[in-house]
């Protein structure tokens, strides 16, 4: 791997920042230079949340330039569309097939796009996943982020043990088992896609 640029996007409260924390720490443990950049603040009030993770021998800009990212991990379908401009033409997208209407749609001022996954498939390689169901299967609907991290780990190529060690180090013991299980379910979903 010479370099890997990842955009992680979702809605406030979906665990975008923890997902990017896990990925960044795995890359650091694998001996790479890493920069992880995100915007807090106003975004926390139900707004759009995103994080850039850049991994290489040497990383300069923490911001991924337009058309530069290799991967998009989208926790929500509309957010997948929003961050598409950051992607390379041959980029891959893991998208949680969940639709969360923003206030602009709920109040009737705008309408939610009919089928974001199909729109993305016209341009990119897309791996849709029902991460909410898998997270529930693991024991907690909130583990959507570790399902997606698990799925991404199949494509990222770092040693499997680094992911588990990093999660053990970063996650509170109380929620560790559920998240390790969610991660495994994500790995299986990723392997099905890769096959």
């Amino acid at each position: 791997m010479s370099r890997l640029d990842i955009v992680i996007a979702g809605v406030g409260g979906q665990g975008v920042l923890l997902a990017s924390e896990i990925i960044s720490n795995v890359a650091l443990a694998a001996g790479y230079d890493v920069k992880k950049s995100e915007i807090h603040g106003m975004a926390q009030r139900g707004g759009s949340v995103f994080s850039f993770v850049r991994i290489a021998e040497k990383v300069y800009s923490p911001i991924i330039p337009a058309g530069g990212a290799d991967f998009l991990l989208a926790f929500e379908e509309l957010e997948a569309l929003r961050y598409a401009p950051y992607l390379k033409p041959q980029a891959r997208i893991i998208v949680n097939t969940q639709k969360i209407s923003p206030i602009t749609v709920l109040s009737g001022a705008a309408s939610y796009p009919e089928d974001p996954v199909e729109m993305l498939k016209e341009h990119f390689t897309v791996y849709p996943v029902d991460a909410v169901s898998l997270a529930k299967e693991a024991g907690n609907a909130k583990a959507v982020n570790t399902v997606i991290v698990g799925m991404f780990s199949v494509f990222a190529g770092f040693e499997r043990r680094l992911w588990k060690e990093t999660m053990k180090r970063l996650l509170p013991p109380k929620i560790l088992d559920v998240n390790l299980k969610a991660f495994e379910l994500g790995v299986s979903a990723g392997e099905r896609n890769e096959a």
């Binding site: 992880k36 995100e38 603040g41 598409a84």
Partner: protein, 571 residues
């Protein structure tokens, strides 16, 4: 050991390693996490002050007493602290002092895009600007040495992208450093006779710092292709390295005062030299004033956050990266949370058709559609002072709206003006028992310190009473009808009044068992409930619907329903 630290965490770590004993701050994005991380070190006394002026003055006191100290704030916080900042340059320090200030290019969560560097020029205070977290740590440590060697406070200039980016950092150990208190009136008592003698010393110090900057290793030339070169600093250096990896670069770690000789040397080596910096042409103005030919804001923007593409496009107007975009997709703006007590206040104000002069906090979101119930926001405390000006000039049916943390920040003196000069003002203090927007920091009203210790809470109603305000009401904002009644009574009164809207933020409240649901038989699909701007509400098959997982049971939407179709239920 190598760890990933944000710029803010790294500044805190650097201060700890430098032996800092005292830290004071007021929360403000993107600087908040500096103090939040300082709190975790047992060797450091760390506190939230009511505002940035108090924080900096406390730090000056710590310095006089012989301790190393740090004040941290966002860019607009330095406006509040500007008074001590300007004169602190004259007194200099005893224990070393760093003032860490975070700018917000692109206004991710600020009311303006001002450039802090203008302050260091005004005060002749040296400034360092890190370009990643390792430098944030190293520069903070170095700043304490500069501070004590040159008898000056040192400013560390951050931007959102440095404060909130995690990069790989090698940490060090703590060195203890302490001095005896300094009792020296000619240095510390800035009455005219003494201050007059200090000012020339400030200018002389500035000259010595300029010399020092010429040989400082954090100002460095990277000579590669000599046909194009960039003079830059901070995070913009990273964008330049990515956009033009083969170009020559003069990277400035110390951004004030500038090493003019080094700059001249660089410009002589390189054919075309660009000065690239976010926001104001600060470096550029200094360099051009020295008669050195460079290109700056002729090509680069003066607003917004930069990235590698901004630099590429500024130099090559034909640069177009290949991208896929989906124009016209719905925005996802931030909104007040379901159950937010502020919503009740705005729904009441809107129903009563009363104008609201606002302030800085979550409640500023009350201005955004569909609530659209807030009519001004300038800076912390301004809503209350503006209310006084407006009502004194005869404006009617207008109130001030200010949060509890913001009230203690600067609203207190504004309310004192209303009380003392007896204007027919009504001030709404939205007391949600925390500082919500920046992440639940305690404040003087909460009864808890930054370190989590119990303290005596200040109640806004007692403050108002002490000021001589007689009309003080405390209302639950979930009770919108009662709120409207109280509002009507107080805005028609000719004497000063205070209405305290009291209910804790949902972020610090247990989720209630009661939720609301829509009786589909009664709902006529008029969508009036949607006007409260709550993400728990939506239209489904022409009728309103409430998501029971999101609903916080406030019932404020029910107030808008003309058919009483929104009813209480169980989760």
């Amino acid at each position: 050991m190598k760890v990933l630290l944000s710029g803010n965490e790294a500044v805190a770590r650097g201060a700890w390693e430098a032996g800092v004993k005292f830290a004071s701050s007021y929360p403000g994005t993107p600087s908040t996490e500096i103090l939040e991380n300082l709190v975790r070190y047992p060797e450091i006394y760390a506190e939230w002050a009511p505002n940035e002026k108090v924080a900096l003055e406390a730090v000056i006191g710590a310095s006089l007493s012989g301790k190393r100290a740090i004040a941290s704030m966002k860019h607009v916080g330095l406006n509040v602290a500007a008074d001590p900042f300007m004169t602190f340059s004259y007194t200099g320090v005893n224990g070393g002092v760093v003032i860490a200030v975070a700018d917000d290019p692109g206004l991710y969560s600020s009311q303006n895009e001002q450039d802090t560097r203008n302050y260091v020029r005004a005060a002749l205070i040296p400034a360092l600007e890190p370009s990643d977290s390792q430098e944030a740590l190293d520069f903070t440590r170095m700043a304490y040495e500069i501070s004590e060697t040159y008898d000056t406070p040192v400013l560390i200039r951050l931007v959102t992208r440095i404060s909130h980016t995690k990069t790989v950092v090698e940490t060090g150990e703590r060195t203890e450093k302490e001095k005896e208190p300094e009792i020296n009136p000619e240095k510390w008592v800035m009455l005219p006779a003494y201050a007059r003698k200090r000012h020339p010393l400030v200018i002389e110090r500035f000259k010595r710092l300029t010399l020092f900057s010429e040989s400082l290793e954090i100002n460095r030339m990277e000579i590669k292709d000599t046909s194009i070169g960039f003079i830059t600093s901070g995070v913009v250096y990273q964008y330049v390295k990515e956009a033009f990896p083969e170009a020559s670069v003069l990277k400035l770690g110390m951004i004030y005062p500038l090493p003019q000789k080094l700059i001249r040397e660089f410009v002589e080596k390189v054919k075309t030299v660009y000065v690239v910096e976010e926001l104001d042409p600060f470096l550029e103005t200094e360099i051009k004033a020295a008669g050195i030919p460079v290109i700056g804001k002729e090509v680069f923007p003066r607003t917004g956050e930069f990235n590698p593409d901004v630099i590429r496009k500024s130099i090559d107007r034909n640069y177009r990266p290949q991208t896929v975009s989906f124009p016209g997709i719905p925005e996802r703006p931030p909104t007040l949370c379901p159950g937010c007590p502020h919503r009740g206040v705005f729904v009441a104000l809107r129903k009563a058709k009363i104008r609201a002069l606002g302030d800085i906090g979550c409640y500023t979101l009350g201005a955004i559609p569909p609530l659209s119930a807030l009519h001004s926001c300038i800076c912390m405390g301004a809503g209350v002072s503006m209310e006084h000006g407006a009502t004194t000039c005869g404006m009617e049916r207008v109130v001030a709206v200010i949060g509890d943390s913001t009230f203690f920040h600067t609203g207190v003196s504004s309310l004192m003006n209303i009380a003392y000069n007896r204007s027919p003002s009504t001030v709404l203090i939205l007391d949600n028992r925390t500082t919500a927007m920046t992440g639940k920091q305690p404040h003087p009203g909460t009864g808890e310190t930054a370190k989590g210790e119990k303290t005596k809470p200040v109640m806004p109603e007692e403050v108002a009473k002490a000021f001589g305000i007689e009309r003080i009401r405390v209302v639950d904002p979930y009770n919108v009808e009662e709120f409207i009644r109280v509002l009507e009574e107080e805005v028609s009164e000719k004497e000063p009044s205070v209405i305290i809207s009291r209910r804790p933020c949902t972020l610090i409240t247990k989720r209630p068992d009661t939720v609301y649901r829509v009786d589909k038989e009664l709902c006529i699909g008029c969508k009036r409930c949607l006007s409260v701007g709550c993400i728990a509400l939506k239209m489904e098959d022409g009728k309103a619907e409430i998501d029971p997982l999101l609903c916080f049971g406030c019932g404020i939407c029910a107030v808008e329903c003309p058919k009483d179709a929104i009813v209480e239920g169980k989760r």
